[in-house]
Amino acid sequence: MKNESDFLVLGGGVIGSSVAFFLSRTGAKVTVLERGDTAFGTAGASGGLINWITCAETQMGLFMRSQSMFEHLQEELGADFELNYNSYNMQIISNEIEWKASEQLVKDFKLPGFEAKLIDSRESHQLEPSVTDDMLGSIYVPRVHYLNPIKLALAYRGAAERAGAVFVNGAEVTGLTVENGRVVGAVTPTESYSAGMVVNCTGVWSDRISAMAGVNAPIHPIRGEFVITEPTVKFCNTTISSAQYQTIVQHPELFSPNAIKYNLGFSVEQTTTGSCIIHGTREMNSGLDNSVIPEVIELLIQTACRFIPRLGSLKIMRTYAGVRPGTPDGDPYIGLTDAVQGFCQCCGHGGEGIALSPATGEAVAELLTEGSAVHCDISRFSPDRPAPAPEV
């Protein structure tokens, strides 16, 4: 029958494409509906940094599984997504307050084999000559990786297609077909699709799909802005950030109102083409609007030039913003729900979607084809978990 599959994956971002790959690898018939094109939404407006030190403790299982999968993922998917595996991240410390907070962070966060350390200004400069002199030192975070998120999504998609998955672009889901308390398919303005199981991977738009299934799964979008410079010779050896993401929360008096409003952090990566990606803002509950706010770009540029003066001589090629799918408790929704049959949630990964994509896809495929996730315990991400108490 036309448009009939075992699994209907909604959303062709990095999560949907990963889920499609891991499901189709089992021999299942998979169709992916995407309203735009692959990586059209959040995956197309993301930084590619995979950093354990900023990952929530609750997601560490998925994170660690993902990071070990990443090591050979390019070979497995048969595609190059510009993976820089086992690099490091340098987080610039500007003042004593940040130094103290960073000392605490490094002390608190000890995983075997994952040990960050504070290094002084001299050592920081030896590693990264491009960073400012106006610094106390930095947090040296080893075992950090970075990649091109769009190419990652395309890599999952390519491998999924070779395994038989069908990707339909321009297919915006306008409704779900529900029969006797079971989701049995989805409709777009022109077609209808049926499947044994519908998987909701629509990220920032997933609450609308959840509502169509009668499921309440709130999404709190978090906007971030990006600046892309002209290509230049390699001068960043790795990803450089600032430790101010800690102080801006603990000591807001040190920052301007706009820096606080947009939760100004700083991160720069130089891609394999030589362009630099400057980002680091997190505007909570921003709504879905992904238009660029000029004052945020200005803040980012000022911050970037302060930490890496050389960036000031580069021209800006383009700017863009993206929204990430935050949730009330900060954890994604992954798994089946008691509310309705035939419907699996896999959304709400916040700013960790790229980093958690391999283990997420694997876990969902295991859950849906073998009955439970084998490599990771995903029970805490159940869509049926109690909602957090509202903040006072």
């Binding site: 002209e230 290509p231 230049t232 010779v233 030589g274 001589s313 580069l314 021209k315």
Partner: protein, 102 residues
């Protein structure tokens, strides 16, 4: 070297007389008229190679002539990625071919 400039335009009339300055292309003096762009001066002197591409090292030169395409980027007085088609000449300016990324 031949001078490709238009001395007497059928519509605009004779070219105005402008002060002559000298720029140095790869160390070689090139005469230029004050107020014109680097790309204009080089083109008039018959120079076509402004940069070489990163991957294959192929030569590139003046293309769009209006600051968009980045094919005319050169190293000017030590500063890389200068779009010479929108950069006026200055006496004594040193203009170098930009090889790949700079």
């Amino acid at each position: 070297m031949s001078d490709l400039s238009i001395k007497d335009h059928p519509v605009l009339g004779p070219a105005p007389v402008r002060r002559r300055v000298t720029v140095y292309y790869e160390g070689r003096p090139v005469e230029a008229a004050e107020g014109e762009t680097v790309a204009s001066a080089l083109t008039r002197a018959g120079i076509k190679v402004f940069r070489t591409t990163e991957k294959t090292g192929e030569p590139r030169g003046l293309y769009c002539g209006m600051g968009r395409c980045s094919d005319c980027m050169m190293v000017v007085d030590g500063e890389p990625n200068v779009r010479t088609c929108v950069t006026p000449v200055r006496d004594g300016m040193r203009v170098e071919i930009q090889h790949g990324l700079a």
